[in-house]
């Protein structure tokens, strides 16, 4: 190679200079856009100034180079030699500026990094605070929701237990350590006979009828922490007693000291009555069996005595002393036979005829028979018969005998007063399908101490010779034989449950006939 063509250099120089201007301005544009987008970013600021200086350098250098080629090409070399130092000096100045800007970047970036570090630190702190605030807010929000939900649950629970407390048929009470009642439900007030509103502050000492029961209760509570099924007697407001079954649990404070107790008390009166009636029923059953055996054995000799007495009466004049004695023997023997017959009926040994009968009709028959004697003693008869009373299956004669016995007893109870009111009521209880017939008087009533014995055979309060003591026993047997039962109420609670009336009411409950039951169902 002998020569190197500079034409290539000239072309490259001109083209390259122009292209460098283009790319330097394109770079400047992006640097400007970057600095506009993030004005706080020092790096973009540095790049913008760097590109700005570089663009100036590119223009200066390109102009110098292109101008050189043009001037030399056009033969103005002298002019170029004049301009050359200016162009070179400008280029030098801009190159030094570029270098200065680049080195200035060093300090700038340090400052920027320091600021950036602080910013990041502040941002992290801010983020942490924001996160903590969010968490706190969320916790508060959840706390409010949880509190609302828990309040709702507590409210529902409180309502549930309040209902249980208020609607309980048993007494529920809360007392303090000194046995002073703090809270007592309405059933408790009712059981003790106090008004629910305006009742005095009660102490267990006032409620327990026996002091020893209270001591026993309290000592057991202290020793065991609870009392279970303790049978005690409570004193009612009117001074009467009431048998109750008591269960209680001690309540302790945070120092494990007894602070009170809560208890439930069940009224045993009804259960006690039922138990007494059950015991009486068993006793009656055994007595009935025994009486049946005795009656059967006595019936035969009585027949013989009566037969021989009647035979001998043929041999003596009725006016003679022997005839009168035989008549007495015959009459008393018949009384004995009647007693025996009653005993057999009581013990269901005699036969009976069963048919559909109307209790209303039986009662009307009995009233017709007994009304005269009742009126003699100024006893008024009232009746309230149900019109749609279903029939019962039974023996008309025997049921009539029951009602005669009951009315006779009522008559006896009222005759001492010189007047009285006898009320006969029939009704139908569709829930248990029973026909209920009530015989109620306003006589002296039945004392509590003999109430359990009234159905005992031979038990009577009548004078000697006026009653055998078998009337109620026989009635009891007949009703039981009909699948029914007798309930006694003395004194009598009025039908509207508002007042207590003196006297006695016998409630006969007999099962309604099945045919009628079917028709009622239809």
């Amino acid at each position: 190679m002998n020569t190197l063509p500079l034409s290539l250099s000239i072309v490259t120089d001109i083209t390259g200079s122009l292209l460098i201007i283009v790319f330097s301005f394109l770079s400047l544009r992006y640097a400007w856009l970057l600095s506009r987008r993030q004005p706080e970013n020092f790096l973009w600021g540095f790049l913008f100034y760097f590109c700005l200086t570089l663009a100036a350098f590119a223009i200066s250098r390109a102009i110098g180079h292109i101008l050189k080629h043009i001037l030399i090409f056009t033969g103005n070399q002298e002019l170029w030699q004049t301009l050359d130092p200016i162009s070179g000096g400008t280029n030098t100045l801009l190159m030094i500026s570029l270098a200065a800007v680049t080195l200035y970047y060093h300090k700038g970036i340090e400052g920027y990094q320091a600021i950036n570090k602080k910013t990041r630190s502040l941002k992290e702190a801010y983020d942490q605070l924001e996160t903590a605030a969010d968490q706190r807010q969320e916790m508060n929000l959840h706390l409010e929701e949880m509190v609302a939900a828990r309040t709702l649950e507590l409210s529902a629970s409180e309502k549930k237990f309040r209902n249980l407390f208020n609607n309980s048929k048993d007494m529920v009470y809360f007392s303090d350590a000194s046995n002073q009642l703090l809270t007592l439900n309405s059933a408790g007030f009712e059981m003790l006979g106090y008004p629910a509103q305006g009742a005095p502050a009660l102490h267990l000492m006032e409620i327990f009828k026996n002091e020893t029961d209270l001591d026993n209760y309290y000592q057991t509570l202290l020793a065991q922490g609870f009392v279970e099924d303790l049978k005690v007697e409570f004193a009612k407001a009117d001074g009467s007693g009431i048998s109750v079954l008591l269960s209680a649990t001690a309540v302790y404070d945070e120092n494990h000291q007894l602070s009170g107790c809560d208890g439930i008390v069940k009224d045993l009166t009804r259960i006690k009555t039922m138990m007494e009636q059950l015991a009486a029923s068993e006793k009656m059953a055994s007595v009935g069996q025994m009486a049946a055996g005795v009656a059967h054995e006595i019936n035969t000799p009585l027949g013989v005595i009566l037969g021989y007495a009647q035979l001998m009466m043929d041999n003596f004049s009725p006016e003679s002393e022997e005839g009168e004695c035989l008549a007495i023997i015959e009459r008393q023997t018949k009384v004995c036979r009647k007693i025996v017959a009653d005993l057999l009926k009581f013990s269901r040994q005699s036969e009976s005829v069963r048919e559909d009968i109307s209790i209303n009709e039986i009662l009307q028959d009995v009233i017709a028979v007994t009304q005269h004697s009742l009126q003699m003693d100024h006893i008024n008869v009232h009746h309230d018969f149900a019109q749609d009373l279903p029939p019962v299956v039974g023996d008309t004669e025997r049921l009539r005998q029951v009602f005669v016995n009951l009315i006779n007893n009522a008559h006896h109870a009222m005759e001492q007063n010189g007047s009285g009111d006898l009320t006969l009521i029939t009704r139908y209880d569709p829930e248990i399908r029973e026909v209920v017939a009530t015989v109620q008087d306003n006589g002296h009533g039945i004392p509590d101490k003999i109430r359990a014995r009234i159905f005992d055979p031979y038990f009577t309060t009548k004078c000697v010779g006026k009653g055998t003591g078998l009337g109620l026993s026989v009635s009891y047997g007949i009703i039981q034989d009909h699948g029914g039962r007798i309930e006694v109420e003395s004194p009598v609670v009025s039908r509207d449950h508002e007042e207590t009336l003196q006297g006695t009411a016998f409630h006969l409950r007999l099962p309604a006939a099945l045919v009628e039951t079917a028709s009622v169902r239809e």
């Binding site: 020569t3 250099s9 490259t12 120089d13 390259g16 992006y30 590109c51 190159m95 080195l103 060093h106």
Partner: protein, 164 residues
Amino acid sequence: MQMLQSPMTLFKKLTPLALILPMALLLLPDQAWALQSHGSPEGIYVHQLAHLFFAAALGYLFWDIGRNSFPGKGWRYLQIFCILMILWNFLAFSGHWLGFHIADSDILRPSGYFSSQIMGPISTIKLIYFCATLDHLLSLPALIFLFLSLRSLYHSSDDKEGKK
């Protein structure tokens, strides 16, 4: 911490100098070097030093980008720009330097300016000088990489803004 001198103390120290300097200028004018002139090469020396200064600044920028581990393609392009521009600076420096060693007779223009050519025999100096006249083959790619760098940085900042 450096203790600052009070204005009064500073005044006392400068008072003799303030009196001597005007007297010396008035009494000994031949010894006063008020202005120093340099020869014609001063301009090219400053220009060459500017090339070296610029190259050094670019080298620092290249190193600092690597040191800070700025992420992204844009910063890698900027480092390539730095390398190419450093090379351009050295090439330009060499071209300016070797220009003094090329005589006017070494360049022949047989039929005008565009027919200029370097006459043989072609030495290393002449060859390097010829290459130096083609310096745009380095500077133009460098500017292209600068453009690519800024464009990439712009788009990546666009992505970050979008994510925010």
